[in-house]
């Protein structure tokens, strides 16, 4: 997907992609957002999700690593936050050509459902969408399959869990909670960490 460069409106880290979707909706954004999960372990370093908007309503989704579009791209992007998000404004005429790419299109409420898990925001987005974009594929029928497909992706689930476990251990050291950690099979801390935890946890 080749997008003309827009004008950068804001660049920030969000815990929840819903924040960005909500901002786009409330400001009637015409342009696009580039989502990059902060955790490069879960996606390749250059893995980014791009979502375009017209008057605040999502139109296209694309994922740079998997080269997937539409609902599949949203599933590829759905990982635990935080995300770095750049929000760009772009003229509707510059978006018109690329918006005429059916395989990349997403139903208006789908990003809020899939990325934010926020049915209320999805409803608000559908309400704001032009009549000709409501209905069609934006039904519950493609929701459950996506969730099931997510859970069936063992590689991704394993990556999320391993990352969380490693983060939990790192944070425990940082917060002086290392002594509270359970001795889990396979969760062997290195000797340096153990020393630090002994020192840090003394009360």
């Amino acid at each position: 997907m080749k997008l003309p460069r827009g004008q950068l409106l804001r660049s920030r880290v969000v815990a929840d992609p819903g924040t960005t979707l909500s901002t786009a909706l409330e400001t009637d954004l015409t342009g696009y957002a580039v989502f990059e999960p902060r955790d490069a372990l879960l996606l390749d370093a250059d893995g980014q999700g791009v979502l375009t908007f017209e008057a605040g309503v999502p139109v296209l989704a694309y994922h740079t690593r998997t080269d997937a579009g539409g609902a599949t791209a949203l599933a590829d992007l759905a990982v635990p936050g935080p995300y770095s998000v750049d929000l760009f404004e772009l003229d509707a005429t510059d978006l018109a050509e690329i918006h005429d790419t059916p395989p990349l299109r997403v139903a208006p409420g789908l990003p809020a459902e899939r990325l934010a898990g926020d049915p209320t925001l999805a409803d608000r987005t559908r309400d704001a969408a032009p009549a000709d974009r409501v209905g069609g594929s934006d039904t519950a029928a493609d929701g459950p399959d996506a969730v099931a497909a997510f859970l069936d992706d063992e590689e991704k689930i394993t990556a999320i869990r391993e990352q969380a476990r490693s983060e939990a251990r790192d944070r425990a050291q940082e917060w002086g909670l290392a002594d509270e950690l359970a001795n889990l099979p396979g969760a062997v801390a290195d000797a340096d960490d153990d020393e630090e935890s002994d020192n840090a946890a003394g009360e």
């Binding site: 815990a15 929840d16 992609p17 599933a75 759905a78 990982v79 635990p80 459902e113 899939r114 990325l115 934010a116 898990g117 926020d118 049915p119 519950a140 929701g143 459950p144 996506a146 969730v147 099931a148 997510f150 859970l151 069936d152 689930i157 999320i160 869990r161 969380a164 476990r165 983060e167 939990a168 251990r169 944070r171 425990a172 917060w175 002086g176 909670l177 002594d179 509270e180 950690l181 359970a182 889990l184 969760a187 946890a201 009360e203």
Partner: protein, 257 residues
């Protein structure tokens, strides 16, 4: 006998507080239940339990030099003991989390089931503490990809601290068939049963507006029935209350977030 559960989610807006009080009320039919608003930075349980005018809250127990007694912050409501937390930011600032463990330890010594309404995010020591201290977590989530991925993260944090999984409570469900399709996988990943599938319900908003737990406000609603199913499915394990109290007392307690 006591078992301490952290009611957790990993994501805001999943209905954790509603679920904590609903589960608490359902469990109170069989057990002596104490519910604590352990989300000290973003307290909201008081609004759900009609306690927004409570004179003394958990914050008063945590403020250095304050002479409030635990009993003063404990309210008998809806067949449970409820310890709300205040919403005043200055009180939150003045609170010394070191005192939390003793408060919770004292409560644990006198109840069958202790439910800790826990912070959604895991970004600070005090946010993770309820999960560290609890015996098991009850995970409240919506059947969406972001909620599941955040909840998987909470599950791994819990596991890292040796805290078990009591089960998953699907909340605000619009399509029950969708939950059925993922139940097996979820039970496998979360290492616990599906406690219930709670349908999205206007009764929940009505209960919140009325300042009553769902089971008091709309006991005949489908959502209330689902919470009673969850309480039936939850296998409360007899624990040694002294051991639980000791664990709270001895736990490393966080600095202010």
């Amino acid at each position: 006998m006591v078992e301490a559960f952290a009611v957790a989610s990993g994501k805001g807006g999943t209905g954790k507080t509603t679920s904590t009080l609903a589960l608490g009320m359902a469990l109170a039919e069989e057990y002596d239940v104490t519910v604590v608003d352990a989300d000290t930075g973003l307290a909201n349980l008081l609004f759900h339990a009609g306690l927004e005018d409570a004179d003394v809250t958990l914050h008063d127990l945590l403020i250095e030099g304050a002479d409030a007694a635990i009993d003063d912050a404990t309210y008998e409501r809806f067949g449970m003991r409820v310890v709300p937390c205040g919403t005043n930011l200055a009180d939150f600032e003045a609170a010394n989390p070191n005192r939390l463990r003793d408060v919770v330890a004292s409560l644990a010594a006198e109840t069958d089931v202790l439910l800790l309404d826990s912070p959604a995010a895991l970004g600070s020591k005090s946010a993770v503490l309820p999960i560290v201290l609890a015996d098991r977590i009850v995970t409240v989530l919506q059947p969406t990809i972001p909620a599941l991925s955040d909840a998987l993260k909470v599950g791994e944090y819990a596991r890292s601290y040796g805290t078990g999984n009591a089960g998953v409570l699907f909340n605000k469900v619009r399509d029950e068939a969708a939950v059925e399709r993922i139940a097996d996988r979820t039970e496998e990943y979360f290492d616990g049963p599906t406690l219930a599938t709670v349908p999205e319900s206007d009764a929940v908003h009505g209960a919140r507006d009325a300042g009553e737990p769902l089971l008091a406000h709309a006991p005949d609603s489908a959502a209330a029935a689902a919470y009673r199913d969850a309480a039936d499915t939850l296998d409360v394990r007899a624990g040694d209350s002294t051991a639980v109290a000791d664990r709270f007392r001895s736990a490393v307690v966080p600095d202010r977030p």
